[in-house]
Symmetry: C2
Subunit: 706 residues, 2 copies
């Protein structure tokens, strides 16, 4: 699964460029334009605007308000990049092992490797508190477009308009947070044509209950990732606490007695990260020609460093595990998306759509006047983006978790010194709790690994920009990247969260006088990053925000409000069918069984990543091997949906999303019902293995409610 | 497996156009030109000219003369379109169920369906004699190029030269047959640059010993055909008799105790039917633009008739089984090949090769004078072929087995009335035994089915050529195709083999006075077919034979004798490795296990074609499910190789070829080591199921030699 937002902060910082949103900062100003025609099962719909017509027509099903609200409140956002759902009245939340992996890694030590070996707390007292996991439950949403747009004065420049919108958004969020105490995010939808205020209940006392071994959660490893047929038990269970007691989760999903069956209508409720379906051709071409090839190079390079580090020993390998997964996952997703972008048919389809839309706009004088210039404005802005791209990408402190923490810390202090309305997005008062959770997290650091990664990223900036580039000169001061990284990482005290807290509390004066070498480096680097971001805002983003809004409005004018917005890591509903598909000359079945796990394991002589845990071999005879294991549906999802529940008409839990097939990767740009598939763990296999291999009868009882 | 030559005579008659050779008449005059560079595992090598250099270099293995001779003599050609091998000293021959299917169908009745239900003779007295199966074992081969070429007088026209070569070939075959009593075929290799006399030991008393149910031999059916991973036990066992006793087969393959293992060097010894790797671009373009689209239409149409017929009842379905398989198999192969031909990259590669070869020829004055005109000559001939194509294809009596028998009978009588040297190829004295075996076979006919098929083919000719076409007019005489077919099939007595014998014995006078309506139709149709064949020979084939020979010689001059000829359904050796491959985003393992059979079966709810036989469900616990089931190798094969043994360095039987993956279909034109795979049944699963599910211990003992 392209859990793009699930990869660690450092790597996101490293990888996500155009999509400037990070895991924590989800308001994007760069969505695309709305497609005219929505195909059968296409769409990641907001709960405000579910596809009732399509559901009635194709399936004769009309979810009531109560059905929708229940599902919404049972859905959970994992703020470090995935989705989940409540599955018991006692705060039990299910997600994927690979969504949980960040916390599993942070909970692990050289002595206890929960990523590899899993974990099970047979009773509440043994549950493990996660160091910095924030869960969100969407409790309300409200259209605030009018207020945001009213902030823009007539005749304002694009840059001033962008500034004004940002300020209005921050004010709305601030007020809402103050009034309700709920996390309050304004989200821009439909290519900035609409702004919605989403309020979330936030949970930060989240405890690990169960995770299987990675060798069964991620059986097949990187080769099988983004493919089907699959044989994975990619799940993990957490329990949400408040006041040191499990919460009462009234809205939880009942466990289906049968699970998903071939042909069933099913729903996925989760948090797709981002899609580019509404991008203009000019934007897609920048992605294709610049962003993807360069990103693939960066990740490939960083993976080389990680593998070298991991080869040094067992502990090094353990430290590298989760980031390696994240980068391999991102690389495979990027490659699939890049291949989609280079497919002439895909681009031709997109071009045809755009030509059609532009022709309709051109044919109507009023529309032409209001929206006609938008595409050319974006083309011009994209030319600017291309010219700025390399500099803005490589003039950043990248690669290392500690360096990313230092950068956040520098900004945290700088921004807190300003009035709330003046701050960078992500540093408003209402946003600080989430940031602080991460900033002061007790999660372990791996300085030796960080040093290698930072050295590599600095070397890369040097390679890309040359020694005379002012950023490179400022970072290296004529020294070798490896030396700069060594001094910064070995010399920093930021590994200690209490030091970070002290520095944060010391204010701008303290920050500016800090001699911590990593802080010094981050402070210096941030000057460049801020300048580059400002330039991008003024010369690209502000123009594209306005133009995107025009295109979005043109679509509303022509097609009506019949579509869904690009994904923004906010709650969405998708519908589809449990259904096989044409695969490599034959047909893929809609589900796999436990038999298939053993087939693939023995076919590869039990060699990793095809070696299931020992317990699967020792107690094989206890299992009913006909038990459904994974299944595929036509639901429209993308990275961020990992861990989303799959529910049936009755709203029961029938499975959990953990991947998309390889054909779904082009889904970032265009959905294909014929071959695009969501891959999920079947509810039946979860019960089967919990019961027969993990002796987790109490957990099973809680899940199935008996 | 594209067992193109394995589909029944009627359908071959129907489908194979350009490749005029039928199963029985294997001398092709239309092979292509030799590729310059041979890729790693590429090649279907003659036993005279094995790839010793490549084997030594890559695998450090040098098969000795004895090793090669043993393998050659253990290899068996199934003359109705497949391959096999001796696997015991008592004449036991193994092949595929789908190669045996023709005979299984002919042995079956409304009461006993051996295709569907299989067969096992626990002792010799219960073995079933096949009605018209001819097996061949290649015992010697000899280069006769000089003699064939000497027959062409200097300055002869292309047409006269072709005629002269045919006469010389017939004489060589006649003499050899008279001298040795062995089947003697002259085969043209390397695009008619070489002619070889192959002598075969012929066996016609062949008895069925064992066949499993089709539901396990062809588990996954048409969807899984030409794909991998697979889970099939596609085998059948026959025993060869002479003088009513099993022969002593000294050269048989010993059963390997381990079977094929990942990474092993393995060999396939069998009879690939035909490839077009050496075709010129002009020839490929005719295939792409004319032959493939039209053939796909014809097969699709005929399959419609078959399915309609089969839907009438169980007995109708039984009658249609084998032909349906043959046509579905051909259709899937054609579609895969057609897709390959339309792949711009494939054609670009071919064009580049051809350009390179032509440039090298052009750069050398002597070569340029001798060979330089060949490509343009073929281009011109192909223009003629295109202009004649539709007429020559549809001016034939097609579609029905009985009509095909009638056509053969007409020709048999006509040709036998001439001196041997004057006859059409396929009707020389030396060739008559094979023809008579089929002509007078006691195998059952299905007149009701034949009537439908003949009606459809006649309707098709009418649709394609119009009512005024002389052939159509002669066939229909202003009547409806269905009426003509009804009268011909219901009125004919050819269903009775003794009637066919009498007619054959009655000579041309008897033939010409026969009032049997099918004979009348065939007699009439044959006038057109003969005229069209003559025109094609004179205006196309003779030119391309000469030009092909020139291109072949140019290749020898430039590259030396380092390559292998296009396939001609004669014995070839290919080498390769047991090896997985990149598949749809992940990797396919080099083998599957019995676990996978059950995975796929239950994933499809045991619905056909994913329902294994009852015994596989009832006695599942008896099986070791880790047993290797199917495996893939990099060996270069094509249709006709079905049933070929896979042997290891020790020359032991480790498996049996039954398919190629979907990526291998473009292998008709170009070999790709990365993705082209041979699919085989593992020797271990054969023993496992014979022993545990079929109670065939005596057979197992004979196979493993204990």
């Amino acid at each position: 699964m392209s859990q793009r937002r699930g990869i660690s902060f450092a790597s996101v910082n490293d990888m996500v460029i155009r999509r400037t949103a990070t895991v924590l900062l989800l308001i994007t100003f760069l969505a695309g334009v709305r497609g005219g025609r929505v195909h059968a099962e296409e769409g990641m719909w907001t709960f405000d605007h579910p596809p009732l017509g399509q559901l009635r027509e194709k399936y004769g099903f009309t979810p009531g308000a109560e059905w929708l609200e229940h599902l919404q409140l049972a859905s959970v956002r994992f703020n470090d990049g995935g989705s989940g759902s409540f599955v018991s009245p006692h705060g039990l939340v299910i997600t994927n092992h690979h969504v949980a992996a960040g916390q599993l890694q942070k909970l692990s030590t050289a002595q206890k490797d929960y990523v590899a070996n899993g974990f099970f707390a047979p009773n509440e007292s043994e549950e493990l508190k996660c160091p910095d996991l924030e869960l969100n439950v969407l409790v309300s949403s409200e259209d605030v477009t009018a207020r945001v747009q009213a902030a823009v004065t007539a005749g304002a420049s694009d840059a001033a308009a962008l500034e004004a919108r940002k300020k209005a958004i921050a004010a709305i969020e601030r007020e809402s947070f103050a009034a309700t105490g709920l996390r309050s995010d304004v989200v821009s939808l439909y290519q900035s044509s609409e702004y919605w205020l989403y309020r979330y209940k936030v949970y930060t006392d989240v405890r690990l209950v169960f995770a299987p071994e990675q060798s069964i959660a991620f059986f097949g490893g990187d080769p099988d990732n983004f493919t089907y047929p699959r044989y994975d038990v990619d799940i993990a269970l957490f329990r949400v606490y408040e006041n040191n007691r499990p919460i009462v989760s009234r809205d939880y999903l009942k466990w289906s007695p049968t699970g998903a069956r071939d042909g069933d209508l099913v729903f996925v409720s989760g948090h797709p990260g981002s899609t580019d379906r509404l991008d203009t051709i000019a934007q897609l071409e920048t992605e294709r020609d610049l962003v993807y090839p360069l990103s693939i190079d960066v990740i490939t390079r960083r993976l080389g460093v990680l593998r070298q580090y991991a080869a040094q020993g067992a502990e090094e390998a353990r430290q590298a595990t989760e980031l390696t997964f994240g980068l391999e996952n991102a690389l495979k997703a990027y490659r699939g998306e890049y291949q989609g972008l280079r497919d002439p048919q895909l681009l031709a389809k997109k071009q045809e759509e755009e030509r059609g839309l532009r022709a309709q706009v051109a044919a109507n004088p009023a529309w032409s006047a209001a929206y006609g210039g938008a595409w050319e404005a974006i083309e011009a802005a994209e030319r600017t983006r291309r010219s700025l791209y390399k500099t803005s990408r490589f003039q950043q402190l990248r690669g290392s978790d500690l360096a990313a923490l230092a950068t956040s810390l520098v900004r945290y202090v700088e921004e807190r010194g300003k009035p709330d309305a003046e701050r960078l997005d992500g540093y408003h008062d209402a946003q600080l709790p989430a940031l602080e959770l991460r900033l002061f997290s007790p999660a372990p650091s791996y300085p030796s690994l960080d040093e290698k990664l930072l050295a590599d990223a600095l070397q890369e900036s040097l390679d890309a920009l040359g020694p005379d580039d002012p950023f490179v000169a400022a970072m290296l001061k004529h020294r070798a990247p490896a030396d700069v990284a060594r001094d910064a990482i070995r010399g920093t005290h930021l590994v200690d969260p209490s030091v970070r807290r002290m520095l944060a509390a010391s204010g701008t004066a303290g920050l500016h006088s800090s001699a911590d070498p990593l802080v010094v480096l981050a402070r210096e680097a941030d000057r460049f990053t801020r300048a580059n971001e400002k330039t991008l805002d003024e010369r690209v983003n502000s123009i594209e925000t306005r133009a995107g809004e025009q295109i979005g409005q043109a679509r509303f004018a022509i097609f009506g409000h019949t579509a869904y917005p690009d994904a923004t890591f906010t709650l969405r509903l998708s519908y589809g069918q449990v259904k096989g598909y044409p695969l490599n000359g034959t047909i893929a079945p809609s589900r796999t069984t436990l038999y298939g796990l053993y087939d693939r394991a023995y076919a590869f002589d039990l060699k990793p990543p095809f070696a299931p845990p020992r317990r699967f071999l020792d107690h094989r005879d206890a299992l009913d091997l006909t038990t459904p294991m994974n299944f595929v549906t036509t639901n429209d999802i993308i990275g961020g949906n990992s861990g989303s529940p799959v529910v049936n008409r009755a709203g029961e839990f029938v499975g959990i999303v953990f991947d998309g097939n390889i054909e779904s990767l082009a889904g970032r740009f265009v959905y294909s019902e014929e071959r695009n598939r969501t891959v999920a763990v079947h509810s039946a296999v979860i019960i089967e293995v919990l019961r027969k291999l993990y002796d987790a009868d109490s957990l099973v009882a809680e899940l199935i409610g008996s």
